[in-house]
């Protein structure tokens, strides 16, 4: 139990001290997660909206698939991306293995289904109300998806935050494609895993608290934005 106390102390110290290595790791974590969540949202939201709105054979199966992909094991995603980017792989020439870019790719693969599945649910609920009115206005497919995404934006924030949560907490994929290389691809979660394997549990916990603090700051900022959105979204 003394580990908890020690961990809190350490976390506080780490946050206050402005330790340079830590700062480097935090910044890289934020960059990678921001990149992955942005990409995943750019892909997942329209995809989810299309799944919510379009009617075609096999749609139900696709919905099940996307829902299932929320359960993609990170290690498997890491392996697949690794095999693609490896020098022995088809994309080896890009020389992206063990770079932050590779980590963003892996995270995007993990997060996209989450954003897409949750978006589908939100948009489907909203479309139940809007559908006939938009039909009546002869709104085209593309514009319809844009409208639904725009009008549901306050609710979609939660979908994006869920994606961010997965991304920021994830270690299995990024450690495989990033390699947890000091000063190059070490992020918060891989650092935590490393300290755990060194038996430095208090330090690992402290890093965990720091990570959680970051998550809270990000969520708080997004939450503030969302409130402002709701206010003039006329929801």
């Amino acid at each position: 139990m003394q580990d908890f106390g020690a961990a809190f102390w350490l976390a506080g110290e780490l946050l206050v001290s402005g330790d340079e290595t830590l700062a480097e790791i935090v910044v890289l974590s934020l960059k990678i997660n921001a990149g992955a969540v942005a990409l995943a949202s750019a892909i997942g939201m329209p995809l989810g909206a299309i799944l919510a709105v379009a009617r075609f054979p096999g749609r139900q199966a696709l919905v099940v698939l996307v829902n299932s992909l929320m359960g993609l094991p990170p290690v498997v995603v890491g392996l697949v991306v690794y095999l693609m980017l490896s020098n022995a792989g088809p994309l080896g020439v890009l020389q992206l293995l063990y770079t932050p870019t590779a980590m963003i790719v892996a995270q995007t693969v993990l997060v996209t289904p989450i954003v897409a599945a949750l978006t589908r649910q939100v948009i489907e609920d909203m479309d139940a109300e809007y559908s006939e009115q938009l039909d009546s206005l002869a709104v085209g497919r593309l514009a319809r998806i844009g409208t639904l995404l725009y009008d549901a934006r306050a609710s979609l924030v939660t979908a994006v935050l869920a994606g961010f949560g997965r991304s920021v907490a994830e270690v299995g994929a990024v450690i495989i494609v990033g390699g947890n290389i000091n000063h190059v691809t070490r992020v918060m979660t891989t650092a935590i895993a490393l300290e755990t394997s060194k038996g430095n549990l208090a330090l690992a916990l402290a890093l965990g608290f720091v990570l959680l603090t970051i998550a809270i700051v990000v969520n708080g900022a997004v939450g503030g934005l969302r409130l402002a959105m709701v206010r003039d979204a006329h929801a």
Binding site: N87, A88, Y98, G179, I181, N182, L194, S197, K198, G199
Partner: protein, 251 residues
């Protein structure tokens, strides 16, 4: 930072802090950055065979020689050694504390069905452990799930688990000395010649894997087995204790 190489290595060299100590010395001298990917031995060898590393630094001699024989590696060099130890709880349920006969100790553990946590991950350490069980004439996997606990994890995680459940654990000394979660554990068995743990270093073969940075990798291997590199290894200490013993035979 264009001049860098990737080293695929086992976790013990990283977790013990050796590489953190060694690499800045090398980089300061040559300007070559060394990026370490520390994973399980099997994974390290597989990654290197895929061409995703320039240098391989592991401790599983048979697998290393196979790697070279298949043409993935240029040549294997002995680099250094340390030794394995068996750590255990103070209660010492198998009564092996202070023993220097590892085979006898394992037999006692099996007889008393004292919990033993094995990495069971085909790592160098695990392979060494299995060899010792064989010498003891015991097939511990028959008791898997009973007193023999196969954790399927890296060294650090297996230590965390083993200590958590009061089991004996075979570990390399370097990882143990640097380990932060020892609890009330201590070394129970050490000093047997059969616990010798040899590390090797191999430059990945550019002829087979075109992307290998052969020049830079060669420079690193050369430095490691040079007198300067070997001295640096010898100079690495944790808590006043030397953890690795250089034994490169040189070119």
């Amino acid at each position: 930072a264009d001049r860098y190489i990737v080293v695929q290595s086992t976790t013990s060299t990283q977790n013990s802090g050796l590489l953190d100590y060694l690499l800045p010395i090398f980089t300061a001298k040559t300007g070559i950055e060394v990026r370490v990917v520390a994973v399980g031995t099997g994974q390290a060898i597989k990654n290197a065979a895929n061409g995703d590393g320039d240098v391989l630094l592991v401790h599983a001699k048979a697998a290393e020689e196979k790697f070279v024989a298949e043409g993935f590696g240029v040549k294997r060099f002995d680099l250094m050694y340390n030794d394995f130890v068996i750590v255990g709880p103070p209660a010492d349920p198998a009564g092996v504390e202070g023993s220097t006969d590892v085979v006898a100790a394992l037999q006692k553990i099996a007889e008393t069905s004292a919990p033993f946590a094995s990495r069971a991950d085909d790592s160098g350490t695990h392979k060494a452990e299995m060899k010792l069980w064989k010498e003891a004439g015991i097939d511990p996997t028959a008791a898997s799930g009973g007193w023999y606990r196969e954790t399927g994890s890296g060294m650090g995680q297996t230590l965390n688990t083993g200590i958590g459940m009061g089991a004996y654990v075979l570990t390399d000394r370097a990882t143990w000395v640097a380990f932060g979660n020892k609890g009330d554990y201590g070394i129970a068995v050490e000093g047997d010649a059969r616990l010798f743990n040899q590390y090797g270093v191999i430059l990945v073969n550019k002829d087979k894997l075109a992307n290998v940075k052969a020049d830079l990798g060669q420079a690193f291997v050369d430095w490691l087995i040079s007198k300067e590199g070997q001295d640096a290894i010898a100079g690495f200490e944790v808590e006043g204790q030397q953890l690795f013993f250089p034994n490169a035979k040189g070119e």
